[in-house]
């Protein structure tokens, strides 16, 4: 991978982190009237995967999909406006944080039903196959989705039809507050791939270079018509399941576990690596942050000053308004 791409991945992770911190800070003012699920601590997965995707490739995210939307190149102003439920939002204020969309960059909508996006992404991959194009789909989901039938049904179908889809499991060990081991027999989600006839890997989801390596291989397999891959990325969310709560030490998650994962911060690790490699320095770090902060400022200004939808729009879009 070229060094410019390293910086791009670093910037993407930093962009996700700083946007989410700003969301976290603004949430208390109660102008963002939608449930939010922050990905702080999990940035490397979206950044390492999406760096290899084209604009016309598809991604499907979940209720926790800010990171994927940002990494895939979704419009930031429209995303923040959507969080503020404004008419200028990416879904005109109808979706909120859990339902982000930007078809111009292949984001066809995120689902807030656990595992619900896995069939959808398998379906866009089926379309690529039927239309004989080389567009790849990546579906992001959590460890909780591996509890669902859709995970198993979709992997089977994708393998059967050799579909160009990469299943990226962001295993942060918790479905709300339920630990993986209280829900699943074993802790090897990636091993399901073996029975479903596709490569499956478990990797360090806080190491953006490792994520990028495995994603690159999986995506090129898709482009070559070799079928799907499952990548289980071990990672950790720093915040509680929903909102801005810090649930560590409240009987939910042990402090030692949290401290361990914070010490493995994906951004800190990558920036240290880049500094050692002579690619990043404090000047560049500052200028990237400056650029990001101004982008964030602009997006929040845009959102906060945008109009809300009018009640007269209530009944719009129940059905598509055209035939084809």
């Amino acid at each position: 991978m070229e060094k410019s791409k390293w910086i791009e991945m670093y910037r993407t992770m930093r962009l996700i982190r700083l946007i989410e911190q700003r969301i976290n800070d603004e949430y208390k003012f109660d102008e963002i009237k939608t449930p939010i699920h922050l990905s702080i601590g999990q940035e490397a997965v979206a950044a390492g995967v999406c760096i290899h995707l084209r604009k016309d490739d598809y991604v499907f995210g979940t209720h926790r999909s800010h990171a994927q939307y940002i990494a895939k190149g979704g419009d930031i102003k429209k995303m923040i406006a959507e969080l503020y439920l404004r008419k200028t939002g990416c879904a005109y204020g109808r979706g909120g944080s859990m339902h982000l969309v930007d078809p111009d960059v292949g984001i066809l909508g995120s689902s807030a039903i656990v595992g619900g996006n896995i069939p959808l992404g398998t379906g866009t991959a089926l379309a690529s196959k039927i239309l004989k194009n080389d567009r790849v789909t990546v579906v992001f989901f959590g460890d909780g989705a591996a509890d669902e039938g859709t995970f198993h049904e979709s992997l089977n179908f994708a393998s059967l039809k050799k579909l160009p889809v990469v299943y990226v499991c962001e295993n942060n060990f918790y479905a709300i507050n339920s630990h993986q081991l209280s829900r699943q027999v074993g802790d090897n989600i990636y091993k399901w791939a073996q029975n479903y006839g596709m490569p499956g890997y478990r990797i360090d989801g806080n190491d953006v270079l490792e994520v990028s390596d495995y994603a690159e291989k999986a995506i090129s397999r898709c482009r070559n018509g070799e079928g799907p891959t499952l990548i289980e990325c071990l990672t950790y969310r720093w915040k509680g399941h929903i909102g801005t709560v810090d649930d560590v030490g409240d009987g939910y998650r042990p402090k030692e576990e949290y401290d361990y994962w914070v010490s493995r911060c994906p951004i800190k690790r990558f920036s240290e690596y880049l500094i050692n490699m002579g690619v990043l320095n404090s000047e560049l770090i500052e200028s990237i942050d400056r650029e990001i902060y101004s982008l964030i400022e602009e997006a929040f200004n845009f959102a906060q000053n945008s109009p809300k939808p009018s009640p007269s729009e209530l009944l719009d879009y129940v059905y598509a308004d055209h035939t084809g």
Binding site: Y58, F60, C90, A91, Y92, R94, G95, H99, V101, P103, L108, G109, S111, I113, G116, I118, P119, L120, G121, T122, G123, T124, A125, L126, A127, S128, K129, I130, L131, R135, G149, T150, E153, S154, N156, F157, L160, D316, Y317, V318, Y319, A320, D321, H322, T323, G324
Partner: protein, 347 residues
């Protein structure tokens, strides 16, 4: 004789009169086959999937030979994963294709509600029309020969409660072809409700491709004293009842809604304005049924026109029994419609 080949279908070839001009006669299942064949030929985005769609029987003959004609990429068998297959169809639709997903039993569709209700039906609204889901879910209900509680349900009423999902329930060969074409070209998800006892129904069907507006009903038989609104297969029973009512000196009007959602409310109100009496015949269980909704529409919009209370002829609120004796008691027939109609008009 094995269960699958015996006549779960209706034995008599009920002929629908005056449905269209021309004298080309097809059965309901032939009309559907023609709709698929012509749609696959017309539009490369159309494809058909479902358990058994490419086998020798071809979903009661309706998809027979289509794989050979259009290839295994466009007509193919699927795993028995109703929920994910529904989502896969939805995803393919989002990417620009026009999938037709077939459930050979309507009961099986119950496994797919997450993808149908939470996803496909909500996508257009949730994302402000930026992503649409032009897919058809075709389901087939059966009746009789011990189909039992899990192979005979008609749950269209349940699904009328799902915003964003259109529902059609054609009862004639002409409508089967035209509404299948409409469902395919519509850019919203459309549920195509079909009944096996209609498969052998015959009627006039033009050879050319045509569509029928979704949400538009028709008067199947003009009458003055009572309106019978019939859903899906119950149209056949209603037309038979109307014939018998005429012999008894009662003039019944038979309304075929054809689409359940959106529903042609005007045709109900206009007919009731004429007759002052309303009987509704539905294939589903009574509570929360399509008949319930039709009755609600009439109560809201035509109460002042009604001379008598509304009556519903539906299946009782029990699972379908398998015993032939209980089955006979379970299903309403033309005779039940006749009796209720007589009560409404004479008493």
């Amino acid at each position: 004789m094995p269960w699958t080949t015996i006549q779960v279908e209706k034995l008599d070839n009920f002929f629908i009169m005056g449905d269209s001009t021309g004298n080309r006669v097809l059965t309901y299942r032939e009309a559907l086959h023609e709709a698929f064949d012509q749609s696959l030929a017309r539009d490369p985005r159309v494809f058909i999937m479902g358990e058994g769609v490419d086998d020798a029987a071809g979903i009661f003959g309706t998809t027979k030979g289509l794989k050979e004609k259009y290839g295994a990429d466009r007509v193919f068998d699927t795993p028995i994963s109703e929920n994910s297959l529904t989502g896969i169809a939805a995803g393919a639709a989002m990417a620009g294709l026009r999938p037709i997903l077939i459930h050979a039993r309507m009961d099986f569709m119950l496994l797919s509600f997450d993808q149908l209700v939470n996803h496909a039906s909500k996508w257009c609204y949730m994302f402000g029309g930026k992503v649409t889901v032009p897919m058809v879910v075709r389901t087939i209900s059966a009746r009789g020969w011990g189909s039992g509680a899990q192979h005979s349900q008609c749950i269209q009423g349940m699904l009328m409660n799902v915003p964003g999902l259109k529902i059609v329930a054609p009862a004639t060969p002409y409508d089967a072809k035209g509404l299948m074409v409409s469902a395919i070209i519509d850019s919203s998800p459309v549920l195509f409700v079909e009944h096996r006892w209609l498969h052998k129904t015959t009627g006039h069907v033009p050879e050319e491709l045509y569509s029928i507006p979704i949400g538009k009903g028709v008067i199947r038989r003009e009458g003055r004293e009572i309106t019978i609104v019939a859903v899906s297969y119950m149209l056949v029973e209603a037309l038979k009842a109307a014939e018998k009512l005429q012999d008894a000196g009662i003039s019944a009007e038979v309304v075929d809604l054809r689409s359940l959602k959106p529903m042609d409310e005007n045709i109900i109100v206009e007919s009731v304005a004429k007759t002052g009496r309303l009987l509704i015949a539905d294939t589903g269980c009574k509570t929360g049924s399509a008949a319930s909704e039709i009755a609600a529409v009439a109560a809201e919009k035509a109460f002042h026109l009604l001379k008598k209370p509304i009556r519903r002829v539906c299946c009782p609120d029990t699972p379908t029994p398998t015993s032939d004796v209980l089955e006979k008691a379970y299903y309403p027939t033309a005779e039940d419609i006749f009796k209720e109609a007589v009560n409404l008009v004479i008493e």
